[in-house]
Symmetry: C2
Subunit: 311 residues, 2 copies
């Protein structure tokens, strides 16, 4: 019987941190989570991460020595080469925070940090809707809109090794103002946060209420239509920039309303004349709720990529 | 004295084909050109290409045996892996036209074919405004708008190995209809052809007249302003998708009015909050009129890339 590889995946979000024991087939053997509450201070959070790693190892009945590595997907910006988190917006108090060194010291295995969207595309590529197509784009529509691109199995990296900011593709001139610096970017119209903000103007509580009322309430219908149109426009941009073989749509909204968004995206493909459109496809993410931790663990299995050395 | 490498660069456009003898330092030793007139039939044109290759070899006093290869940049779409040209729009009659085989048979050296924008970015990278920064984007604003991306020295390739179609990034919802399938793409507003089309509506002959009159004529000023705004919007898209270290602006319009466009592009960089903007720069193309043939020759010097074998 072959020895299956074992890794720990850690998914650090603004609200929740999840930790899981994941094997080389992408199967989760144990998982755990806690509220990130980054304001408690970075070292307190790191201690809690360590404690949860030990907890899932214990639950999975894995020894520390069995691990091939630890992968971390974190709400960006992060610096994968230095192993540091720089996210004062989503993770207040964590700026230039070195997450690699304490985990390496505690578990003496290689530790790899990437932006959470990058972890997600690696996870879908290894264990989900990706397989070996290239270029592969993963778009997550949830509270925000994130994205990542894999080319020949490697993460696309921009200047300084940083990752694309696909949520801030411009889609309309007269949209809401975004923290990115312009009005009317994709995220400012089609994200859960944007739909929720629009909802409050016509007396609805959040994006869930808007989707639920879209059949009957004209305001809700218009808001969803704007989100779908923005996604179609951004898709046109992705088709003519990265020219992907496949776009995987994930995230809470992207998965729950997959057909709604995918239909509009496919219409863009079919009207395009300058791309090999017969070879471009839109797929739903397969890893669901576990995408974060499985993607994070997948980073540890990808040994060819940037991976910190054991200290 | 070191032996300097020698190559032939061939730049095939819809109107003109240029052939040059270029050395490994990017210096042109001889050049020649003729009207492409693709309708004459592919084999007639190939014969003329061969004749001009012999002519420049003769003028440069280079022997066929001295050549390390032949590089061809051609108005796309082209298939670099198969070495075929598929361009019924710009090169009527040339569809699935194999340009590699006849040149290999005639000169018995490796021959490489790429889209002309891809050849241009390789040329600027090797001999112009590119050096070793990554990612490097080359945008050409001329009759049309083209673009190409170099990542760690290699051409970014989309599905089927095809190249991005940066000219068809959407910039406004209410622009002119484009052959790409939407209204208001970058090329439909900011290309020489688009400016010329707009010009005729207010009685001017072409884009040259519009640029010349932009200081005094309100219609001309508005048309140029629309082109500059479209370029700014497309730049925002490039910044948040490919996240380049450097954008090189070339092409007739891009070079003649470089500061006008570059100012607007730099304003986009300075307002962006989600990219490492201190490390992103806009530079003017350096190879000028010879960019096509020098870029094509640069393909032949890049031996690590796809390069057809000697038959």
């Amino acid at each position: 019987m072959r020895e299956i590889e074992k890794a720990i995946g850690i998914d650090i979000g603004g609200t929740k941190t999840a930790v899981a024991a994941v094997d080389g087939d992408g199967r989760m053997h144990a998982s755990s989570h806690f509220e990130t509450a980054s304001k408690r201070g970075f070292s307190t959070c790191v201690s809690e991460v360590n404690e949860h790693v030990r907890r899932v190892l214990n639950e999975a009945k894995w020894a520390e020595d069995d691990l091939c590595g630890i992968g971390i997907g974190c709400a960006g910006p992060v610096n994968p080469a230095r192993g540091t988190i720089h996210n004062p917006y989503t993770l207040p108090g964590w700026d230039n925070a070195d997450i690699i060194t304490p985990l390496q010291q505690a578990f003496r295995v290689p530790v790899r940090l990437e932006n959470d969207a990058d972890a997600a595309v690696v996870g879908e590529s290894e264990f989900g809707a990706g397989c070996s197509v290239s270029p592969l784009i993963m778009v997550t529509i949830g509270t925000g809109i994130g994205g990542a691109v894999l080319v020949d199995g490697k993460l696309y990296r921009g200047v300084n090794g940083e990752h694309p900011e696909l949520g801030h593709i411009p889609v309309t001139a007269d949209g809401p103002e975004c923290y990115c610096g312009i009005r009317g970017c994709w995220e400012s119209i089609a994200s859960g946060a944007a739909i929720g903000l629009a909802a409050r103007a016509f007396g609805m509580a959040d994006s869930y209420a808007v989707f639920a009322a879209a059949q009957n309430n004209p305001n809700a219908a218009a808001t969803i239509q704007a989100a779908v149109s923005a996604t179609a426009k951004a898709t046109w941009t992705l088709l003519h920039t990265f020219l992907p073989h496949r776009i995987i749509l994930g995230g809470g909204i992207g998965e729950n309303y997959f057909e709604l968004f995918a239909d509009a995206m496919r219409q863009q493909i079919s009207r395009a004349t300058q791309i090999p459109k017969g070879n471009v496809e839109i797929l739903k993410a397969r890893l669901g709720n576990a995408a974060g931790v499985i993607g994070a663990a997948a980073l540890a299995f990808q040994n060819s990529e940037v991976l910190s050395k054991i200290p």
